[in-house]
């Protein structure tokens, strides 16, 4: 009898263990944490990507980043400024509430609230009206071609839950209002949040009632942020993690050569470039005319940079050099624009002489040292290359916290800019923010005060062009003007590098989002 009991216990335990081994858990880490669970209370792309596991938007990005139906099954423009969305039926929120048009209207209104920090993500949306339980009209300020791009970032929240928890309006720091939504997330997405502990970890469990057919085999995701690069790598190598994203560039070789682990990488959408000053004077040469106003000088500055050397030495061959201001997957990219001027120090010297600066000139170069991959080292390299052709470059690097406010105030001669065209993932964002004059809501990041009448015109036309082919042609044309006039000097696309243990299959995306609803683990 005793023996039989022992035997059945063993069997039971085996079954239990077998079950435990079958439950697929993915443990992963990144240097930043989820800032808040309230989708409209932040503008960080990392938090947006994490919350996508919990919430669904009306339309979402598919495996090739194409826009595909999610909570909306179809849409059409009924008027140039009104889009009608047919909603998916039989969808339930994590708490069991059914999903209807009321939730969409409440979510859009909440996102449009003056207190919502993400309000600017749908700046052209004027409102949402319920047509029936499963049809919603969304109106925009005039015709707006990028509405779907914007809506892909608007996660739909549960109206009933928001009403019950006094969260119909977002939190607002100015007035000191906080809401339950910053620590609770009720969505319709593929995973539910089991626990959320800032800086310690967030646990997601699979939502068995998700409306879509899962392409992943996960039951559970344990996310643990680790700020220190060395510790994050150590935690992967010691078997405490299955995935780290990003993996620090300096450790890629070590991880790749450890057995049982591999590095996956691809170029990201984020383009690194130099912003030039088009102001009357340079800070480095007060009282004199800004040499960079002469096109030949700007061409000389481009020719003087050895991009191949930066790629090989600084980026360890992981970056992709570029000649244009958008990455290949982004609308507005064209191969013809993507030609770099080529490294030619002799030509650079000649151009400088032709422009009337045979012995060069003085400029400052400002860079962040904690924002982009190897930002400081890239600038050190460029400063020495420029100094070689006679452009005496005074380099200053600082933390992002002080760098970006100064850049915004236009305090720099030459400075580093990174641009990923996110969240809309469209070349129009380069035109509207980097290449246009700072007025009428345009030119928000045009810190060098670049201005070109042709681009001004094309930007305003592209903003309301609903014909996608025509619109893209305008973007390409504007980016060609930008290249021909050397509005910015593009350097490279920085890489996305992740590291996984063997047996983990995670697709990588150039927008650096981690989309674990495509992940499979063995």
């Amino acid at each position: 009898m005793k023996r039989r009991l022992a035997f059945s216990l063993t069997v039971a335990m085996g079954a239990l263990l077998g079950f435990a081994a079958d439950a697929k858990t993915l443990r992963w880490s990144s240097p930043t944490d989820i800032t808040t669970l309230d989708p409209y209370a932040h503008t960080e792309s990392f938090t947006t990507s994490m919350l996508h596991h919990v919430f669904d938007p009306l339309v979402r990005r598919g495996r090739n980043l194409e826009i595909e139906p999610a909570l909306a099954v179809s849409w059409k423009t009924v008027k140039p400024d009104t889009w009608r969305f047919e909603l998916r039926r039989n969808v339930k929120f994590h708490n069991g509430d059914p999903f209807t048009a009321d939730d969409v209207v409440a979510s859009i209104n909440r996102n449009l609230d003056p207190g919502a920090r993400a309000r600017s993500n749908i700046a052209t949306v004027t409102g949402a009206q319920k047509v029936d339980d499963y049809t919603v009209d969304i109106t925009t300020k005039g015709p707006y071609p990028l509405l779907l791009n914007d809506l892909a970032g608007v996660y739909i929240m549960d109206k009933k839950w928001m009403e019950a928890n006094d969260s119909l309006k977002p939190g607002n720091i100015a007035t000191g209002v906080t809401t339950a939504a910053s620590t609770t997330a009720i969505g319709t997405g593929p995973f539910k949040i089991e626990s959320y502990k800032p800086d310690a970890g967030t646990v997601f469990v699979v939502n068995p009632n998700w409306w879509d057919k899962p392409q992943h085999n996960l039951d559970r995701i344990e996310f643990k942020p680790i700020k220190s690069d060395a510790t994050r790598v150590a935690a992967l190598l010691s078997g405490e993690l299955d995935l780290i994203a990003p993996a620090p560039l300096q450790d890629l070789q070590r991880i790749g050569s450890s057995s049982g682990f591999k590095v996956i990488e691809e170029p990201s959408l984020r383009l690194i470039m130099l912003s030039l000053s088009f102001r009357p004077e340079l800070k480095a040469m007060p009282g004199q005319k800004n040499p960079a106003l002469d096109l030949k000088v700007r061409q000389a500055m481009w020719h003087a940079i050895d991009f191949e050397a930066i790629k090989k030495r600084v980026m360890r061959d992981k970056s992709r050099n570029t000649g244009t201001l958008v990455a290949p997957p982004v609308p507005g990219y064209s191969k013809d624009n993507d030609q770099t001027f080529g490294y030619d120090p002799e030509k650079a010297k000649k151009l400088l002489a032709e422009a009337g600066y045979p012995s060069g000139f003085k400029t400052k170069l400002n860079c962040p040292n904690d924002r982009y991959i190897n930002d400081e080292q890239i600038c050190v390299a460029i400063a020495s290359m420029w100094t070689k052709v006679g452009i005496q470059t005074e380099l200053q690097t600082e933390s992002r916290a002080t760098y970006f406010p100064r850049q915004d105030r236009g305090e720099f001669d030459v400075s580093m800019v990174g641009w990923a065209t996110l969240p809309p993932m469209d070349g129009f964002s380069v035109l509207a923010s980097l290449l246009t004059e700072q007025k009428e809501g345009y030119g928000g990041s045009n810190s060098g005060a670049y201005s070109n009448p042709k681009i001004e015109e094309l930007t305003r036309k592209a903003a309301v062009e609903l014909d996608e082919e025509k619109r893209r042609a305008m973007l390409v044309e504007a980016l060609k003007v930008a290249r021909d006039t050397v509005a910015y000097i593009p350097i490279h696309q920085q890489p996305v590098a992740w590291a996984v243990r063997d047996g983990v299959e995670v697709p990588q995306f150039p927008d650096e989002y981690v989309r674990l609803w495509f992940a499979n683990v063995k």
């Binding site: 800032t35 906080t178 910053s182 800086d199 310690a200 700020k227 220190s228 510790t231 916290a401």
Partner: protein, 323 residues
């Protein structure tokens, strides 16, 4: 006595005022939160509006006045980063830091005192020389290096201990503790050692110096002459007297352990107040930074005031001087 007490408290309040003013002025130079709060393609108008809504367009004096008024009424504001009340954020992180500091203090006392005694009793012995040499290394190695080396050895190579985090924690009311679970205790070991190392060497050297001093005093010589057992002389008579300054220093050091836990917490992703502060700095989260600095300032002021008052209680000469 009341007069002493009042003057000490008055001084403490003054120090706190200076700390708050200094930290507030400092924030003018750590950057502008608007850049980290707005999205990549925000327009200039959007940023200006955000700045206005946060009151950042007001003169510094006005901002400081508002801050002081709110702080005095117990309102530390809302984090710019995750829009939660700062008091709540700090209350969540406090247990992690205090437990780490507690473990580090216990470790440094438990190892530092016996080692110090060992070095004092046989100052020229091989063991004492070895300990002395090691303590030099301990005192001169930066915390982040110690932390990473410990992680590489005990987590990556040997696989005995976790490399980051607190392990499993148990919630006792609002206090979350890692002392009650095996994984929680294991997670405490490496960061505990890392944080304790400096403190440990300090205590060891202090005990050694004090012991050598005490051992050469008259009453120890008389005790030896009376033929009392060595054990009794060393541990009962000498060590007890040598411990007085050690206790003072340990008390004062707890403040700096809490303040300097920042590096250890960053290396081990320890979800305490230091990590909260580091993240606040990179985001220019002014309310969190201000609250943290005030808290650390308060801690130092509190410890020093208590020590001052205790001294006054113990030593009548101090009372007379201040009167």
């Amino acid at each position: 006595m009341l007069k002493v007490l009042l003057s000490r408290l008055g001084q403490a309040a003054l120090v706190m005022l200076v700390v708050s003013a200094l930290s507030f002025v400092m924030f003018r130079y750590v950057g502008d939160p608007v850049a980290s709060m707005s999205r990549e393609n925000a327009s200039a108008e959007e940023k200006a509006e955000l700045r206005r809504s946060l009151g950042l367009d007001q003169p510094v004096v006005v901002q400081y006045g508002c801050f002081l008024e709110n702080t005095l009424s117990g309102n530390l504001g809302i984090s710019y980063r995750n829009q939660r009340p700062v008091t709540q954020l700090i209350a969540e992180r406090l247990p992690a830091t205090l437990e780490l500091v507690f473990v580090a203090t216990v470790l440094s006392l438990a190892l530092g005192i016996p080692l110090g005694v060992l070095c004092a009793l046989k100052p020229n012995g091989a063991a004492a020389r070895l300990v002395q040499a090691l303590s030099l290394i301990g005192i001169s190695t930066p915390t982040f290096v110690t932390g990473i080396v410990l992680i590489l050895v005990f987590a990556v190579s040997l696989g005995w201990l976790p490399s980051f985090g607190r392990g499993q924690v148990v919630d006792l009311g609002w206090w979350s503790t890692g002392l009650l679970t095996l994984s929680g205790l294991k997670a405490l070991i490496l960061p505990g050692i890392t944080l304790a190392l400096y403190q440990l060497t300090l205590i060891m050297r202090l005990v050694r110096a004090e012991m050598i001093d005490v051992l050469s005093s008259d009453y120890i010589r008389f005790a030896k002459a009376r033929g009392l057992p060595k054990r009794y002389i060393h541990f009962h008579l000498a060590l007890r007297n040598a411990l007085m300054p050690v206790i003072t220093v340990t008390g004062l050091q707890i403040g700096s352990l809490i303040a300097f836990a920042i590096v250890t917490e960053t290396v081990f992703q320890w979800p305490g107040m230091g990590l909260l502060f580091i993240q606040a700095v990179s985001f220019v989260d002014i309310p969190v930074m201000a609250a943290y600095l005030l808290f650390v300032g308060l801690l130092f002021v509190l410890i020093n005031t208590v020590v001052d008052i205790l001294y006054a209680v113990v030593d009548p000469r101090l009372r007379a001087r201040s009167a």
